[in-house]
């Protein structure tokens, strides 16, 4: 009887191992051939733990990104969504662009990202000029600041651009530090960067030997990536999947109460928590800019610019944001207005999404081109300011 039980157990284990090997070999075969552009494969796992921001790209990781658009990705030697480069740069200027998934642009090939395009444009005028991509999916204001302080300053940039999605300052997640850096109120009553995630079990595991083995497996085993992908979406994710695809609405929406919460925050200073958060964000960026003599530009996005009915409200909001930032010594760029000026009202939506989802989601190739040109303008305008600051320092 025991013999039969062992035989059955052996057959069961052998079957499981064989199935796993078949799948691993199948995915490896797909990835190694042009079939990878068509057939299903697990998605690349890009991120690892980071003591300053909670998470960041791991260096030299490669694989296919499948969300929105299929792209073969490789993270840089510095652990950025960027090309490989030395951490020390020469005499040519270096700019860094900090932002969320909008700047990270995993959905397009690296040369087609807005940051890479901006670099090519600037390099044409200033040989050797660099623009480094510090975009990170899901990054919120506190992560922007922490990333600028740690990974950004390590690159000794001449100019920094922080692309800020405006509603992030109102998000409750801005004060959540359980998974990545957040703003928390300290004893002085003000908000400061907080790193509660460092004591979380998940972070502790990811930074342990077990975590290192886990990431090694993720980088070398497709089956492991399948498990990781499934963990991320949830075991029963398909149960709640919408039965039909979202369709692209060619008309943008202009509800009468749009921008009200932003105006309440920037003009009236309400709610108080968000106001304090904005104060902390601006304060921290201004301190970094001053102490490093580095012009920092805040480029806002997500302030709907296509609605004539909202023009007056919008102008008041933009004016309030500009005043707040410039008072603190930061530069301000209204990205939405710049995009609108380039492509017109009907040209904004087609900058987003791919194929059947055109008009929805992140920037497509054309969208990145437009934003890249704008970024090049913004950085190009900030560079003389930096040179002036350096010259005044030398003459002083």
């Amino acid at each position: 009887m025991w013999r039969l039980a062992f035989r059955r157990l052996g057959a069961l284990l052998a079957g499981l191992v064989a199935a796993t090997l078949v799948i691993e070999l199948g995915f490896q075969l797909i990835l190694a051939t042009p079939l990878r552009w068509v057939l299903p494969v697990p998605q690349i796992a890009l991120y690892g733990p980071d003591a300053d921001t909670g998470y960041r790209h791991r260096a030299n990781v490669s694989g296919l990104w499948l969300t929105e658009h299929r792209v073969f990705l490789r993270t840089s030697n510095l652990g950025l969504r960027d090309r490989d480069r030395d951490i020390v740069h020469g005499n040519a200027p270096r700019a860094i662009v900090i932002g969320d998934s909008f700047i990270e642009a995993l959905q397009v090939d690296w040369p087609e990202t807005a940051v890479a395009i901006a670099e090519r444009i600037l390099e044409h005028d200033i040989p050797g000029a660099e623009v480094v991509n510090l975009g990170l999916s899901g990054a919120r204001p506190a992560v922007h600041v922490a990333r600028l302080q740690s990974q950004g300053l390590a690159l000794t940039p001449d100019v920094a651009v922080v692309v800020l999605t405006i509603d992030q300052l109102l998000s409750p997640l801005a004060t959540d530090d359980s998974e990545f850096t957040g703003y928390r109120r300290a004893a002085d009553g003000k908000f400061h960067l907080s790193y509660g995630f460092r004591s979380s079990p998940g972070y502790r595991f990811r930074t342990s030997l077990g975590g290192r083995i886990f990431y090694w497996l993720l980088d070398h085993s497709q089956v492991m990536r399948v498990i990781n992908d499934r963990k991320n979406v949830g075991l029963l994710a398909e149960w709640s999947q919408p039965p039909t695809r979202q369709t692209f609405d060619t008309a943008w929406h202009c509800p009468a109460d749009a921008l009200d919460s932003e105006i309440a925050l920037w003009v009236d200073g309400k709610p108080a928590v968000a106001r304090a958060l904005v104060d902390a964000f601006i304060r921290d960026l201004a301190v970094i800019g001053r102490s490093n003599r580095m012009p920092i530009t805040i480029a806002t996005r997500g302030i709907e610019a296509r609605c004539p009915a909202l023009a007056a409200k919008r102008a008041a909001l933009i004016d309030a944001i500009r005043t707040r930032l410039e008072t603190a010594g930061l530069r301000f760029i209204d990205l939405d207005a710049r995009v609108l000026a380039r492509v017109g009202r009907n040209g904004v939506a087609p900058l987003h999404g791919f194929g059947a989802d055109l008009g929805l989601g992140h920037l497509n190739v054309e969208g990145n081109r437009v934003f890249g040109e704008i970024l090049a303008e913004v950085i190009g305008a900030a560079l003389p300011q930096r040179r002036a600051a350096c010259q005044s320092l030398r003459s002083g």
Binding site: A11, L12, P34
Partner: protein, 462 residues
């Protein structure tokens, strides 16, 4: 519940365990089928329950007097007309009584056909009524074939239902489980690996319109394989699920793209629907004494075209489906007339003509409406391009894409080599715990891979 989801795998595992451990096999599968269908929503479940009760009640009346068949068919097809065709029919009648998007109850086209065939078979003496309501309900509700067929006849399925509820042993013991799991794996591979991978290209070309003839041909070619892999994949899973529970369901596909005539193609494509249409639409129409002997051939041809037109209408409530079906019928008539009066061309010419015709006419099936189909076809034949979808860049001047298209055809040929008695014998020979765990394991790995895009089975919408 969709067969290509992880939660269905969990559901199946629970049902299978209960099926293995408990003695009430028929009841377990009936309960599972009710749970499976209940997931479709309250409206669909109530409708299914009403249809079951009406048909169950009427079957006894039909046995006593065949004239009772007509009211029950009117009720059944009335449900179908209301839930699937009301907007189209009202539009044809020039009324806007029903407007807006209609959500077709899950599997209604299939179960209405199965129940109607059952009642007609009773009047023909080819089926016996179910005395037991649970058995009758299971005949209609079995989750392995409820949503999109295969459409089962009583003579194939009825005795198996009785065997399950009577607690008789499974045919070949549990040895069919390995074969069933193998079929489920094959079907899932067709769906997840092939059909879903082709879908984004097809969606883009048909949505944006082809930019030139090459893009148009590519779209049609890919759609032919998408729908084949999608539906035949579903059918493989359905047959596989049946085998896991000891139930033999009918095969629905027999590598149709190897056919060398349209008639043959339809004998290999959605075979249970073709047989239904032949037995319950074409033969009654063709055998009706409407005309004299010398015009009987014309009547047969007319019946053929009308049957295929109805086949088109069954697939969807739109003129494009009607045109698609009519063209299939006309092509059959053309093929038969050619065979009757003209010498047969070489096989490769027949194959090219058949496959080419099927590709071109599938545009009517896939396009949103007749106008879009006409635009698409004008591009297909080089009369300018109105769309913006180009042939994707492959970095090799299109060679990889051509190779990929022929690889799809090669896979079709490979499938024909796999579906043999020898393979079945081999599977029976090597059936055991190792093989079953191997098949189940690969299946689970495929299901674990999250989907980049939601692509429901195409035939679920019919």
């Amino acid at each position: 519940m969709s067969y290509d989801s992880l939660y269905f795998a969990f559901f199946l595992a629970i049902v299978w365990l209960a099926f293995q451990l408990l003695p009430w096999r028929g009841w377990i599968l009936l309960a599972a089928s009710i749970v499976f269908y209940a997931a479709a929503g309250l409206r669909d479940s109530i409708l299914a329950a009403v249809v079951i009760l009406v048909n169950y009640g009427f079957q006894f009346a039909v046995v006593r007097d065949r004239r009772w068949l007509y009211p029950v068919l009117i009720i059944d097809f009335g449900f179908l007309a209301y839930f699937k065709y009301r907007v189209f029919l009202a539009g044809v009648a020039g009324s806007n009584l029903f407007t807006g998007e209609i959500v077709i109850p899950l599997g209604i086209s299939f179960y209405i056909f199965q129940l109607s065939a059952f009642l007609i078979d009773i009047t023909r003496g080819r089926a016996q009524p179910f005395v037991s309501l649970p058995r009758f309900a299971f005949f209609k509700l079995f989750f392995g074939q409820l949503i999109a067929g295969p459409i089962m006849r009583w003579r194939q399925f009825g005795p198996q239902v009785d065997r399950l509820f009577d607690g008789e042993p499974l045919p070949r013991g549990h040895r069919m489980a390995g074969l069933g799991l193998g079929l489920c794996l094959l079907g899932l591979t067709k769906k997840i690996v092939l059909a879903d991978s082709i879908a984004p290209f097809v969606d883009t070309i048909f949505r944006d319109g082809p930019w030139n003839a090459a893009a148009a041909w590519l779209g049609a070619w890919l759609f032919a394989f998408q729908i084949y892999f999608d539906f035949s994949g579903y059918c493989d899973i359905a047959v596989g699920l049946g085998l896991i529970f000891g139930i033999l369901l009918s095969r629905n596909f027999d590598t149709p793209f190897r056919a060398i005539s349209i008639q043959e193609l339809w004998q290999r494509w959605h075979m249970t629907l073709t047989r239904f249409l032949r037995d319950y639409v074409f033969l009654p129409l063709a055998d009706m004494r409407l005309v004299g002997r010398r015009y009987r051939v014309a009547q047969h041809f007319g019946a053929m075209v009308l049957t295929m037109t109805l086949c088109g209408l069954w697939h969807g409530a739109g003129w494009n489906f009607i045109v698609w079906g009519t063209l299939q019928g006309l092509a059959m008539v053309f093929g038969l007339a050619w065979a009757r009066y003209l010498p047969s061309p070489p096989t490769w010419v027949n194959w090219t003509a058949t496959f080419g015709f099927f590709l071109v006419t599938l545009v009517f099936f896939r396009a949103a409406n007749l106008g879009s189909a006409a635009d698409y076809l004008s591009t297909t034949f080089g009369f300018g391009g109105t769309g913006s979808a180009r042939v994707p860049e492959d970095g090799a001047g299109g060679l990889w894409i051509i190779a990929g298209c022929f690889a799809l055809l090669a896979l079709h040929w490979l499938e024909a080599q796999l579906f043999t008695r020898r393979t079945v014998r081999l599977l029976f020979r090597f059936d055991g715990l190792f093989l079953r765990v191997l098949f189940a394991g690969i299946t689970i790995w495929l299901l674990l891979l999250p989907k980049a895009q939601n692509n429901p089975f195409i035939y679920f919408r019919f």
